[in-house]
Symmetry: C2
Subunit: 480 residues, 2 copies
């Protein structure tokens, strides 16, 4: 940790945008690069991404997914084969026109996503039904030129994983896309302590080239939606455009069914937004690179304090706890503020008086509550306490999310929810009026249909705008 004073940050409730930037910078998660829209992932920020990688690698490999790496550059001819796709991405591309001091015969783009490369490669991988399913994933960065950028949430470059799979049938492909979505959702619950709304995107919000897009959406403190991960069923359109054919079980030529799916470093943005407070970052224990920060008190005048602190450090390490002992000569006050800013889930103080009583003081970052704990019980009880903190943080976020999904029966109710920043306006619509409903919501409230939740239990009979017979539940919201 750098030797500098922890400075105050803007209040979260007063100015969320400024607060967010303050936390990103002062918790040392990132720094701005010279080029607008590009950032540097500093060690404490990148470590969060590494923990996401570790979690997801384990989960997707268990489903038979294998990691690969495809080129950073995509030649123009390849990008242009699927029409919907190119029209969606071309305006955002960074274009390479020279290589090795010479103009390129064919311009290429820095990958904005890799469907086109995967499909070009799949053509030489898939020949028979025996070759299916193919389940690949790649960890990489992508570049999409953005006008308005914010650290992690929207940038001209971000880190992500992109999965690409081929299947024999539509049913299998859709089921696979859904099983990945469920893994993303469980990662929210079990690693990030963030509840998501799972569902399907309305046609207007689909990925360029997809038949259907599934999504997990989180609600931010200002009530706005953050699309946090998507999985796509792409049908056979890409395989047809790229000539991926195989001989099926009946000896007929067929096109495989395609899925792609991804989450990105945008999740770090969600993590900061959902859990952070006026003292800075607040990390859930499962993803925190350091789970417990030990701060010895009056260690100069009592050499025994540091000795005991080291013993505790060692014991906790052996118990599988990620622990950091700050034995620097900075004041305890500085250390407290520093580890609060950094969001470390648990602070452990030990001083001469505590030692006399055979105990330590533990302070939970997320609710500032204190616990006294017997030194002999630390190894056993701290892992349980970290579990408790995780559950506490998840439940707090879940309560917030549930409060911010508001059932609305009329446009006026929806307007009230959206304009007051109270979250998702959950409405009943008629699929026949989709365009009309979306247009009004967009033009008058700048709100878009974020998700048709999988939970489609109806709560009204009529479309909230047109009064037609309703058949669909949709959450409208403003989006990051």
């Amino acid at each position: 940790m750098a030797d500098k004073k922890v400075k105050n940050i803007t209040s979260k409730s007063e100015n969320l945008t400024q607060w967010y930037t303050d936390v990103c910078l002062k918790a040392e998660l990132m720094d701005y690069a010279q080029m607008k829209g590009f950032i540097i992932y500093r060690p404490d920020g990148y470590a969060l991404w590494e923990n996401i990688q570790e979690y997801l690698n384990k989960r997707i490999k268990a489903l038979g997914v294998r990691n690969v790496y495809l080129p950073t550059l995509i030649p123009m001819n390849l990008l242009q084969k699927e029409k919907d796709h190119i029209s969606g991405f071309a305006p955002e591309c960074a274009v390479v026109t020279r290589g090795g001091n010479k103009p390129l015969a064919e311009e290429c783009v820095v990958r904005p996503t890799s469907e086109t490369l995967f499909c070009d490669h799949f053509r030489s991988v898939v020949h028979s039904y025996n070759d299916l399913p193919v389940k690949y994933n790649q960890w990489c960065s992508v570049i999409r030129w953005e006008k308005t950028t914010r650290p992690f949430l929207r940038g001209s470059e971000f880190l992500w994983q992109e999965g690409h799979t081929l299947h024999e049938s539509e049913v299998e492909a859709r089921e696979f896309a859904l099983s990945i979505l469920r893994i993303y959702n469980e990662m929210g619950r079990d690693l990030l302590a963030i509840p998501f709304v799972m569902g399907q995107k309305p046609a207007s919000e689909k990925f360029a080239g997809a038949v259907d897009t599934y999504t997990i959406e989180a609600i931010m403190p200002d009530g706005q939606a953050l699309q946090s991960g998507t999985t796509h069923y792409l049908g056979t359109g890409f395989p047809e455009a790229y000539g991926i054919k195989y001989q099926d079980k009946d000896n007929k030529i067929a096109y495989p069914h395609y899925t792609s799916w991804g989450v990105s470093t945008r999740l770090l943005g969600a993590l900061i937004m959902v859990h952070g407070d006026d003292e800075g970052l607040v990390l859930p224990p499962k993803i925190a690179p350091i789970q417990v920060a030990i701060v010895p008190i009056r260690m100069d005048s009592n050499p025994e304090v540091l000795k005991k602190a080291r013993e505790i450090e060692e014991k906790l390490k052996n118990a599988g706890v990620r622990v950091y002992l700050d034995d620097s000569d900075k004041t305890p006050g500085w250390k407290f503020a520093q580890y609060e800013m950094k969001g470390i889930p648990l602070r452990l103080e030990i001083g001469p008086k505590d030692m006399e009583k055979g105990q330590v003081v533990l302070t939970k970052r997320y609710d500032s509550s204190k616990v006294f704990m017997n030194i002999d019980e630390l190894e056993e009880k701290i892992p349980l306490l970290l579990e408790e903190i995780h559950t506490g943080m998840y439940n707090k976020a879940l309560a917030f999310t549930n409060e911010h999904i508001v059932e609305c029966r009329t446009f006026e109710e929806a307007k009230d929810v959206i304009t007051s920043g109270r979250g998702f306006a959950k409405v009943m619509t008629s699929s026949a009026c989709e365009e009309e409903d979306e247009k009004k919501m967009k033009e008058e409230l700048n709100a878009t249909p974020r998700v048709m939740p999988f939970d489609q239990r109806p709560f009204a009979e009529k479309d909230f705008i047109t009064g037609e017979d309703a058949d669909t539940v949709i959450c409208f919201g403003r989006a990051y």
Copy 2:
């Protein structure tokens, strides 16, 4: 594994280049991308890189190195600040001239290496001696436009790690660069089963912008050198060019001492070259994604065979062995050829007759030797056998390397070694004649000074060309 016939490959001794390409493609390590010089890292190739990442992450994190991520794109002004550096890299760059459908105000390059970005960032990280050392590393891909390319060995894009550290003193910085070099060397010994020659690069072969470059060099089957990893002591030149200053312990302004270091997917090329044979790839057990392939014999007529094979698979998994049971309906002959091509270190056959005897047949990939082993002893003995295989492969490669470093006392002797492909011509030179010696070796033999080995024990008194008093041992060779 794909359902296709394993085809013959070119003989390694007859045509090394064609053999190499055959193995890369038929062991399914890579495929060519559409753009010349770019490749696709297929699952079996990328898994090798993941194992290198796992090994190195553990080792460098133990030295306090932390992973970060810096942008893919570098604006021109930043690249140009260090003069030696830009003149070394500019001719190889891919240049982005448009972004988001508009010409860029300032062109940028896709990173060929990231010294310039790290230094620009370090300026805002380092202010006081308390902030030092800084030890960062990044896993990413780099693009360097190459005219002649070969899979893994030289490509227009490759994967690597690049470490960047700052230190208070030259001694500390050099020692750090050397400690990383030792880790690379140990990775060769312990993970890749490849012996390297460790040493320093002569001035003419240094990294653009370095004071000194340290290197690990491997000798390929054709006697040519493969530079397999480098670490650089860069002095204070970059910090001065980028304005990275700090207040030292005496309250004076000072520039930190800089190191950078990297290994790349070129190591996969070394792995294939050093160990492969006429049947295909041969993987050392420590890096092999699958260590044991189980092939059941006559399983159709004897259902007990597959049952026992599954038991063995389960037991080996529990013993920490990476095992794959092929219960497909392909013939044992096809499976044997397939796992030979894929380089799996150990094949385990079990058929009805083996079961009667309570044993299995194990075949070592690297020397084709067979071992019969009692089924009850597999969990205990197979891990030991894998260790033995690793040691056997390393010793074989070490013997080859030692035989191919030939002490030469005259130019004629060196000429004989180089032109006959017998490996490194190890010579004694006088540093006063460096240019003259190098010029003659380059012009007449197309050989360059690969490394001044750390083992500088003299074996002659005079420079092998000029006859001046010798003071330096150098290995000359032709390089990939």
